[in-house]
Amino acid sequence: MSHARLLVRALRDPASVADCDWAGLVSAARAEQLMGSLAFRMAGRRVPPRIAALFEDARRDAAQVRTQALWEAEMARRALAPLGVPVILMKGTAYHAAGLDAATGRSVGDLDIMVPRESLGAVESALLEAGWEHVKATDGYDDTYYRRWMHELPPLIHRTRDRMIDVHHTILPLTARSRPDAGALIADSVALESGLRVLAPADMIVHAAAHLFADGDLAGGLRNLWDIDRLLREFASPDFWRTLGERARRHQLSGPVGRALRLAERLYATPVDRAVAGRPRLGDRLFEARLLARNGWGQERRKALRFAFYVRSHWLRMPPLMLARHLWIKATR
């Protein structure tokens, strides 16, 4: 059994791992950024003392992760408040700020926010004014590529706090075949007490699914799928499933959302709505194999499969001619 599978089993059913390869489980969990989540799942279980101490540390660390993530969000809020534009938190920071179950032990790296596309220029200026800086040169191909084709600004990093911010204006690159309704994402977002906002529950799932299955190469995907599991379990209701189906169609993302539900069900036994999940597809097994390509040393496995998904991520991201040009520029510089 791959250690990623052991990790999935431990998250799904903590009682089922008693006498396992703990060193391998911990390394796989750290590599997949799931150590905090695992530590909370294993709380109160019989675990060897050395491993129990690591879980204890990870649980304590989670409080600090949360404090830092929320502080970073607050810093962005203060920088952007004068503009009067809606600022929507996304991913990990959103789960923490909204107090969702998915935040339990959830690690947070960058701060992800979404703002209306027409405000991007003002938002970028305000952030630069408040101490954020460009990570890459602003005159190269990468910068132009980001600004023309991506769903986010080139990443910015804060000068003194050393934390990155990704400023999105929609949830998929503009070159992707699906065109999510960014206006609807913003219009239906939910205000928090701080004045910051988060996506509506169904849109949160749509975004997580888009991020995992319609963009990127699924590296570190077990954590994103665990987010989806936690969110679905918290949101589940007949009304929610209906809304989720509608929103997925509206954002042209029924395929990725169905895939997300089926994979969450396969790996984490998430209760899902059949109508939204759709019927099992042959490809689901490949996605599962890709998500589980991690061994007990924390190394990635199944090189060919990973490469195939890497190629797929570029294929999804842009039309063939543009892809050819993009790869040519990357290869020749």
Binding site: A23, P48, A58, R60, Q64
Partner: protein, 288 residues
Amino acid sequence: MRHRLDLRIGPVAFRIGSAWPGPLDALAKLYAGYPTPEDGLCDFTVRLEPEKPWRRFIRPSVAIRGDYVLPDAVPMALAHGLLAAEMGMNLQMALGQKSYLLLHAATVEKDGRALLMTGESGAGKSTLAALLGERGWRLLGDEFALLDLESGALHPFPRAVSLKNGAIAVLEAEVEAARFGPRLEGTPKGAIRHLRPNADALARMDEPARPALILFPRFGAAAAVRGVGQAEVFVRLTQASTNYVALGRRGFDALTGLVRKVPALAIDYPDAETAIGLVEDFRRELAA
């Protein structure tokens, strides 16, 4: 991984995997007599692996990876594989250790009173700690001091001492050859030779010590001693810590506790013998 070595150093257990046998053979020899962690359990995993698959055979280069990685770490020559393993363990501690406040400092103990030495690279703390460790003091560690977040005690972490350039000959004159690792030439820090702490340091690696004095040594100038105020000590130690920020409030409480209770001195010294003389004076004063 093809090759594996488990090591326990004080409270911390490592699992080190390598694509080549060489680095682990050297490591096993250097760490002869160290305990093996219980049941194959570990706190951290280190991986020494080829940067690219073919680099296992062709111009082999060792990438230092593990549970925690630095994205732009430069790979090392296979001949320096032992150093890569040491750096891999340091990296896991610096990025992943959350049980103790970690200070980049050398620590020795005598009569139950521990001396904590910290300073810039080149201040001579490793050399002083190694020498004191041969002259009646117990070496707790030359690289990281592990401050207990609850009790304020220092936990031994007696890794092999990393001696650089001129310091190598100083210790070679005092210590039997069997306790040295191979001399590594042309590393990023010049020549390096590792020294295994003595039997007393190993036998008592589970015995914490009370901090009694903080020292900021500086090599090169005429002998001088000055007191250091608590605010300066605090700021310098936050800079010497790799996980102070990550520990949040607990790190602040542990560090302020240390700074309030333990006196601090800055010393300049022209040579190691002068520094050791000063340290022995301080010890007698503290005992009186």
